[in-house]
């Protein structure tokens, strides 16, 4: 007898997602996912001045914000056959790389971590690290006041949940730190964008912002702080989780679906890409584009 499980809505994503799963004898037989919100962005853009597209498409989503603006800028550059100036190329690259850094951190700590952690394990933390004790006191304080929102309610932790008090406390302290780092990243990117999230300055032909030397010095300082966080905290956390408590989940090989992947060329070096580069190549790009379809790389 098949059982149908419906989760509507899936939280900690941008947008509205509903998942339906049909389970028979403990095995998933079929599954459906539906987006339950539509704004009609495509309809909205029809017959408008094409230059509006960079502003409007950027507001499709503000979590991975700005990449839609970059993509529509590239499309318009292509359509108008514009070669963007060097400053425009550098500004767009700086924006994208800054976004990549903070977006990965936010995804791990704020959007994903609560699915894997038994956050109440913090109460069992027995160490003496002052930073971690502060985190413990904060969470325990929430419990004492009987008000643990937004960490509860939650699904009951299972055998795959990380429940080592030291690990959980450390990760929650990194959760709190990552929120601060995200704010600092937005401050940094705002020097280029004028407003964050949802950049206003990136548009067809390049980027309008012309930061002063003073602003660029501030940008650099904030940049180095981000790099430090990524290298010293984020990457070790990913490695530790992936090879440690989450290894059983990882080795189950879940989530690949059809095994088709697509990567667009990013970060053009030494001048913008030539027109022919855009579809998949990216000969002068730091990150090359390509596709894996059914296990084959770049099939024609």
């Amino acid at each position: 007898m098949a059982q149908r499980i419906v989760i509507d809505l899936i939280t900690r994503i941008e947008g509205h997602l509903k998942i339906e799963v049909e389970v028979e004898n403990g095995v998933v037989k079929d599954a459906w996912s539906s987006g339950t919100m539509a704004r009609g962005w495509e309809v909205l853009l029809r017959d408008r001045d094409p230059r509006d597209a960079t502003y409007i498409t950027g507001r499709v989503c503000a979590v991975c914000e700005g990449v839609h603006t970059i993509a529509s800028s590239q499309a318009l550059d292509h359509a108008y056959d514009i070669e963007i100036p060097e400053a425009g190329r550098l500004m767009r690259n700086l924006f994208c790389s800054g976004l990549y850094m903070h977006d990965h951190c936010i995804h791990l700590y704020v959007l994903s971590a609560l699915d894997y952690l038994d956050i109440m394990a913090i109460a069992q933390y027995k160490g003496s690290d002052p930073g971690l004790l502060a985190v413990k006191n904060k969470v325990v304080g929430l419990v004492e006041r009987n008000d643990t929102a937004p960490f509860t309610p939650r699904y009951t932790p299972d055998e795959y949940s990380v429940n080592d008090p030291e690990t959980v406390t450390t990760l929650v302290s990194h959760y709190i730190k990552s929120v601060e780092m995200k704010a600092k990243s937005s401050k940094m990117l705002n020097i280029i964008c004028g407003i964050q999230p949802n950049p206003a300055t990136i548009m067809v032909g390049g980027c309008t912002a012309t930061p002063s030397a003073e602003q660029l010095v501030e940008f650099r300082a904030l940049w180095e702080e981000q790099v430090k966080f990524v290298n010293e905290i984020y990457i070790p956390d990913v490695a530790a989780l992936g090879t440690g408590p989450l290894l059983p989940l990882a080795t189950m090989g879940l989530g690949a679906a059809h095994g088709n992947y697509l990567c667009y060329p990013m970060f053009p070096q030494d001048g913008p890409a030539s027109r022919d580069d855009y579809p998949l190549g990216g000969s002068n790009h730091l990150v090359k584009g390509g596709a894996i379809v059914g296990g084959a790389t770049n099939p024609s």
Binding site: G40, D52, R59, V63, N137, A183, K184, I195, A200, T201
Partner: protein, 372 residues
């Protein structure tokens, strides 16, 4: 569980004092009120419950709140409010998140924050949560709320989605028009619109602390926007105003000689925009659109975006007192400072008195407004 025998968190008073000072500064109130604010924050046994609903949104307003450094977003989210329901931040999913919502609504007395517009077309089916139209969820949540704060342009006036096919509206307004759709559940509850795309985090934090302290809302304008934040005209206060008055306009972003000139010909809607971005700046006092050399799109206004498209085109001709309508290309050559200032005031006053909206002689709207 031995949790209850553990120490409560420390540092709370210092955090409260910092939060109180920051909030008063944000609202432009006297710091002599600080003890009262600190007291209110300390005495709020159990933090103020908050329901944060997301409709046709991009999550930008949430991101913006999380971008707050002073006070830190985590201080607001964990120490000041009790965030009972927030689709992007809460741990629960599915029936658990629905239960959290239902339970908080039943308890009542919460602050309802709405992000994203509310689609009314097709009986609300363009946005559903748990199989229910978003408009019905808003209605339920509004009924028992203590106050309602639509954040961002979408929840305030419909924003960009208003230009789409889903009849997307704000909580009170469809563009400049009151739609009365939620009047029965709103009653006499205060509704505080905090438009701009996205929300400015400082404006929300200040409104929350003001509400916690005085149990009232700050003075509002006729579009339910706090005057402390939306009582200033961008054009009147613009750092590039001197260039406008002198007729120096950016026509080519690639020309270094035009650096810092007025963006009016690039479509700047500063004369129509009422906010304090020019002094508050964005992202912890770093920058804002015009300072970053890109035109103001007047995202604080109910007409945004429908009536301001195309964004990067000059849309209106200004009228100089006693001269009649003048084409801006001629104005560039002939304008003098005082007269130009008068023109801008004329435009703003016309809008506020309703003449502009009705397609007056002062300025005309290129795109037809969807104000039905």
């Amino acid at each position: 569980m031995d949790v209850l025998s553990l120490r409560p968190p420390e540092l709370t008073r210092r955090d409260f004092v910092k939060l109180a000072s920051a909030s008063l500064a944000l609202l432009g109130l006297s710091q002599t009120l600080r003890p009262r604010v600190v007291k209110a924050l300390e005495e709020s046994v159990g933090k103020t419950p908050v329901i944060w609903l997301e409709g046709q949104d991009c999550c930008g307003c949430t991101e913006s709140l999380v971008n707050s450094l002073e006070p830190l977003a985590t201080t607001v989210l964990l120490d000041t409010i009790s965030l009972r329901y927030h689709e992007t931040l809460m741990a629960a999913s599915g029936h658990q998140s629905e239960e959290a919502l239902t339970k908080t609504i039943a308890e009542g007395g919460y602050l309802l924050v709405i992000e994203g517009s509310i689609p009314l077309a097709e009986d609300g089916l363009f946005c559903t949560v748990g199989g229910r139209p978003f408009k019905d969820i808003v209605r339920d949540a509004a009924r028992n709320a203590a106050a309602i704060v639509p954040v961002g342009s979408c929840a305030s006036f419909g924003g960009i989605p208003r230009s789409g096919p889903t009849d997307a509206v704000g909580y009170l307004f469809r563009g400049t028009q009151r739609h009365h759709y939620f009047d029965d559940v709103t009653g006499n509850k205060p509704v505080i619109n905090l438009p701009t795309c996205p929300l400015h985090s400082e404006r929300l934090v200040a409104v929350i602390v003001h509400y916690l302290t005085f149990s009232t809302v700050p003075p509002l304008d006729h579009f339910n926007r706090p005057l402390a934040f939306y009582g200033y005209n961008q054009h009147e206060n613009c750092e590039r105003r001197g260039h406008f008055d002198a007729g120096r306009f950016v026509t080519d972003w690639g020309d270094p000689a035009q650096q810092g000139w007025c963006l009016y010909l690039k479509g700047c809607r500063g004369p129509w925009s009422s906010q304090d971005c020019w002094k508050r700046l964005w992202n912890n006092r770093t920058n804002y659109c015009i300072q970053a050399n890109t035109p103001c799109v007047a995202c604080s206004e109910p007409e945004f975006y429908e009536s301001f498209s195309p964004i990067y085109e000059r849309q209106f001709d200004v009228r100089l007192p006693g001269v009649g309508r003048v084409n801006i290309d001629k104005v560039m050559a002939t304008i003098v400072g005082v007269a130009a200032g008068g023109a801008a005031i004329d435009i703003v006053v016309s809008r506020l008195t309703g003449r502009w909206k009705n397609g007056s002689e002062v300025a005309e709207v290129k795109t037809e407004e969807k104000e039905s």
